[in-house]
């Protein structure tokens, strides 16, 4: 009886202490001193990732390979929903709640600065110094994972916006915006039922990507120091151009509600001359029953000057939970190293069509033989640019989505929309820290 009472008291005291410690470290961000002690036995590392579509076996083998190399580590994988917004919400709430339930997790390219600023992901510069990351990985992703000179995540696989065109309808790939419009008009003259150019104009993240690509095509910059630049001459030019695609009949009205899949279906049915999309559309276009199989080319996005345009950088990174206890950290870093090794990235590329983030993977003989399209993508991926690297990205994107949508659907002229967006952003960022 006495002993049991003692136990209860001890538990209560412990709970109280933990609460105190939790209150104490509140706001600091980094893991406090109240981390749980290491249990005996294998070190358990939990990896959270989105589903890998396709045959599950190669991915399982890849994970098994890590377990064989590291018999002292117990690797557990947990699958996240396949919707980026839902995953963001999950991490927002669980990391704010200092969850230690997982160690390594995937992060969208735009989340890295936000999570780093919040202290939710660990600075891993000691294991992966920024210089090394810059040397080993493609420039766009390397820039996206570096925040204030420190490495906060490792690029895992990359995506970039690119231009698809119909080789049977246009003489060659267009290099400038004017050429794209001209080629589309010429093709429409021969077949008036054709659409010129389909892209993503619905109010969502895809529209932000497409618009930034146009802004870069006009020579615009995204950041000036820490200030996000939205209301610039180049942005006005880019938005005027995007709106003119509708008024000149190059893009059908359906584009204002189109996401990636809507655009791809229209293009794949042979109804459009040009399409802006991510690399995944290539595999679909080349399927045996595709009406446009063998009639599709890819190229970098057009620009004003004709130089190869920058595609918006997409893709996923591996990040380390800041609340992971120190005794699990080494094992987690080992796992991140393994998953971003050349071997792992080639496996993901060959079996799941994920474009490697690592430069040397593109020289791999196996990849050249099994997935030549991915090797052909290298110029596009090397030229990819991250959307503004800022912890305010969620807010920025929310405002830009509605203002860009207002322009493409003809509700507001570009000048008014950009002015509204810039004022709001300045108000928010100046009110912040």
């Amino acid at each position: 009886m006495h002993k049991a009472g003692c136990g209860v008291m001890r538990i209560l005291t412990l709970v109280g202490l933990v609460c105190l410690a939790a209150c104490h470290t509140g706001g600091g961000g980094a893991a406090g001193t109240n981390e749980p002690a290491k249990p005996p036995g294998k070190i358990r590392v939990v990896f959270k990732h989105q589903p890998m579509w396709g045959e599950p076996e190669p991915f399982r083998q890849l994970l098994a390979g890590f377990s064989q190399e590291n018999p002292d580590i117990d690797l557990v994988t947990e699958v996240l929903p396949n919707a980026s917004d839902a995953v963001h919400q999950y991490f927002l709430t669980s990391l704010e709640g200092r969850s230690r339930d997982y160690d390594v997790f995937i992060a969208d390219v735009v989340w890295v600065p936000e999570f780093a600023r919040a202290g939710w992901i660990s600075d891993i510069s000691d294991a992966f110094p920024p210089d090394g990351v810059k040397r080993d990985f493609l420039p766009g992703p390397a820039e996206a994972v570096t925040v204030e000179g420190k490495t906060y995540a490792l690029p895992w696989y990359v995506d970039a916006g690119l231009l698809y065109y119909r080789t049977d309808l246009v003489p060659r790939a267009p290099k400038t915006f004017d050429e794209l419009i001209q080629f589309a008009k010429d093709a429409k003259k021969k077949d008036p039922s054709l659409y010129g150019y389909v892209w993503q104009g619905r109010q969502y993240e895809g529209l932000v990507c497409d618009t930034y690509e146009a802004i870069w095509g006009f020579g615009g910059q995204t950041m000036n120091g820490n200030r996000v630049m939205v209301d610039t001459k180049e942005s006005r030019g880019a938005l005027t151009y995007l709106r003119s695609l509708f008024t000149e009949g190059i893009s059908p009205p359906s584009v204002t509600s189109a996401g990636e899949e809507e655009a791809r279906r229209t293009f794949q049915d042979g109804k459009a001359v040009f399409m802006r999309n991510w690399p995944y559309a290539w595999g679909e276009a080349q399927k045996p029953d595709s009406p446009i199989k063998g009639k599709v080319g890819i190229t970098t996005l057009p620009t004003v000057t004709g130089e190869p345009g920058h595609g918006a950088l997409g893709g996923w990174q591996l990040a380390l939970n800041a609340y992971t206890p120190s005794w699990r950290r080494e094992a987690a870093v080992k796992f991140m190293k393994y998953m971003t090794s050349k071997k792992a990235e080639v496996t993901l590329a060959v079996h799941y069509g994920r474009n490697p983030s690592r430069k040397d993977a593109y020289k791999d003989e196996g990849l050249r033989k099994e997935a030549p399209f991915i090797v052909d993508l290298l110029p596009v991926l090397e030229n990819a640019k991250p959307r503004p690297v800022t912890p305010y990205y969620g807010m920025l994107s929310d405002v830009l989505q509605s203002e860009f949508s207002a322009v493409v659907s003809g509700i507001r002229p570009p000048e008014a929309a950009l002015d509204r967006a810039q004022k709001f952003l300045d108000h928010v960022t100046q009110g912040g820290s």
Partner: protein, 328 residues
């Protein structure tokens, strides 16, 4: 525990019929004693009732009042998760809200959506209810069939309608003349597309509620009216509508509250686009909370949504409740 207490508790647990007062076992003459006993019994009855209600109250406090109060408390702060910022700003967020054009547009979108959708649902639902109330072969089958849209999860039906509205392949686009209407991408159209989806989904629910009301009206009244020579239309306005009034009020409250909080259908269809022309209060609050991570202002928006919904239900109860009293 004292003996007296024990007796009280014991008494309290007995059914009132068995107490001496009721069974007439006790002789009259010691009334003061009786009254005291009665008072004790009443107190312990009340205490027991309170004990029985306690779990429900605790659950309500934990799952309803605490979150609401916590949200109100948060709404008085500037709190952005990413910056670990939490400063008390009093009513600052509410001040900003008053001058936030996006809030006013979300509020008017919500009001428009709720008003138009609920009116159409009520009219259509009443029509369906009258048809289903008539006797005809296959009635029970039709009653079951009409519930199908209500049985489909909202996200699924919204996704389904998104394809029907697709400007390239959508059935809606092909059936209507003038093929270049892009329902979900054109300002003005998108909101009405969302209303159509809500009407399609919720009319069966309204019809079912009203049908239940119709079935409580005794047939004798109609027979008597026929004898007196009242036609069908006269019967509808003089008998059906007045007697259906209570059901209509309940249905209106249900539907208006639901429609004012609409999130899933619109979010799946348009995410609030184009240019936030279909953004409702709930969507604005969700985006501010979860996408932006601004828990202070997001909570303010949630509180205002809550207050609007509360206000609407109070108005309904007050206005319609009073008139009902007069009518009766």
């Amino acid at each position: 525990m004292t003996a007296k207490h024990a007796e009280n508790v014991d008494r309290g647990s007995l059914s009132p019929k068995l107490t001496p007062e009721h069974s007439g076992l006790r002789k009259s003459g010691d009334a003061p004693f009786d009254a005291a006993k009665k008072k004790h019994a009443g107190q312990s009855d009340r205490r027991q009732a309170q004990l029985m209600v306690l779990p429900a109250v605790v659950i309500l406090v934990v799952v309803a009042f605490y979150p609401i109060l916590a949200t109100m408390w948060l709404s008085l702060h500037r709190m952005i998760l990413v910056f670990h910022e939490e400063t008390f700003v009093g009513l600052g967020n509410y001040g900003f809200l008053l001058s936030d054009p996006r809030f006013w547009s979300a509020l008017s979108n919500t009001a428009y959506f709720a008003a138009v959708a609920v009116v159409i649902e009520l009219i259509l639902g009443l029509g369906f209810a009258l048809i289903l109330n008539a006797a005809f072969p296959g009635r029970s089958l039709l009653r079951a069939a009409i519930l199908v849209p209500w049985a489909i999860p909202t996200v699924v039906s919204a996704k389904l309608w998104a394809w029907l509205f697709n400007p390239e392949y959508g059935l809606v686009t092909h059936l209507l003349p003038g093929h270049d209407v892009n329902w979900l991408g054109m300002p003005g159209y998108a909101m009405h597309a969302a209303i159509l989806v809500d009407v399609w989904k919720t009319t069966p629910f309204v019809a079912l509620l009203l049908l239940a009301g119709l079935q409580t009206i005794p047939q004798d009244i109609y027979k008597a009216a026929s004898v007196d020579g009242a036609g069908t239309i006269r019967q509808f306005f003089s008998i059906t509508l007045p007697l259906l009034r209570n059901t209509i009020v309940v249905t209106l409250i249900f539907r208006t509250l639901d429609a004012s909080r609409v999130f899933d259908a619109v979010y799946v269809l348009t995410e609030g686009g184009p240019a936030n022309t279909t953004e409702t209060l709930s969507i604005y609050a969700y985006k501010t909370l979860m996408r932006v991570g601004d828990f202070g202002y997001g909570s303010t928006l949630s509180v205002v949504t809550f207050l609007c919904v509360m206000g609407i239900s109070l108005v309904y109860l007050k206005v319609l409740g009073v008139e009902r009293g007069k009518g009766a």
